[in-house]
């Protein structure tokens, strides 16, 4: 399947792009991260510390073990600092 993957803040800066289309057979968010990390160092750097990362599936906060089936948009970002 194909998902749109978005990156924000320092995740975007480390990976070097704001979004990309990814072909994947990953069953969960964690599987998708493992695939990305295996690609290149810049992904490994961005995903080095999952405790400092958050993920949203179709614009809803989710956990790293959430399934990807049916998901169109995955976003990775640091803890939010609004307000």
């Amino acid at each position: 399947m194909s998902v749109e993957v978005l990156y924000f803040a320092w995740v975007r800066e480390r990976i070097g792009l704001p979004r990309e289309r990814v072909q994947t057979d990953a069953a969960t968010v964690a599987d998708l991260i493992a695939e990305l990390v295996a690609r290149e160092d810049r992904y490994a750097m961005a995903f080095a510390d999952l405790a400092s990362l958050r993920v949203a599936l179709d614009q809803e906060l989710a956990s790293f073990d959430a399934p990807l089936a049916g998901v169109r948009e995955v976003a990775f970002f640091p803890p939010m600092t609004g307000g």
Partner: protein, 146 residues
């Protein structure tokens, strides 16, 4: 209830006045305004990134939650993104309720959730360079009281 995610500045005076005047039946109006701190006169700037699309949804969900918990007559959230200079207003929240306890609680709740659950990221641009603002443990802990 109204929410606006915008790059343009907002007019705190006009927004506060219009909000309070339009809140029929309210006895209490609380506003909160967040401002870019100028650190000891050394004016810094801030770059606010956000997740267009999710931002509005997340804020609307937070406002619905507040409306379900407290007897609110009205609520307003305005949050800016983009580049802001020191002293500029980042965002505001307003709540109107028959009684003050509800208006205060809802405003604090909205702020606590906007801090940690709305997809905004702040980057401070100071004299020594740029740095992403780290989320504070205290902000995450603040959610536990609700």
């Amino acid at each position: 209830m109204r929410l606006s995610v915008q790059e343009a500045p907002f007019d705190l005076g006009a927004e506060s006045q219009a909000f309070a005047a339009g809140a029929a039946g309210a006895g209490a109006v609380v506003t909160f305004t967040g401002i870019v701190r100028d650190n000891g006169g050394a004016l810094s700037a801030m770059e606010i990134e956000h997740y267009a699309g999710m931002t509005e949804k997340a804020i609307a969900a937070i406002m619905d939650e507040a409306a379900g918990r407290w007897a609110l007559v009205d609520a307003l959230v305005i949050h800016r993104f983009g580049r802001l200079a020191g002293g500029e207003m980042i965002m505001m929240v307003a709540t109107a309720a028959p009684h003050r306890a509800d208006a205060f609680a809802a405003a604090e709740f909205l702020m606590d959730y906007l801090k940690s659950r709305a997809p905004f990221w702040k980057k401070e641009l100071g004299p020594e360079g740029a740095a992403w603002v780290a989320a504070k443990d205290a902000d995450e802990a603040a959610l536990l009281r609700w």
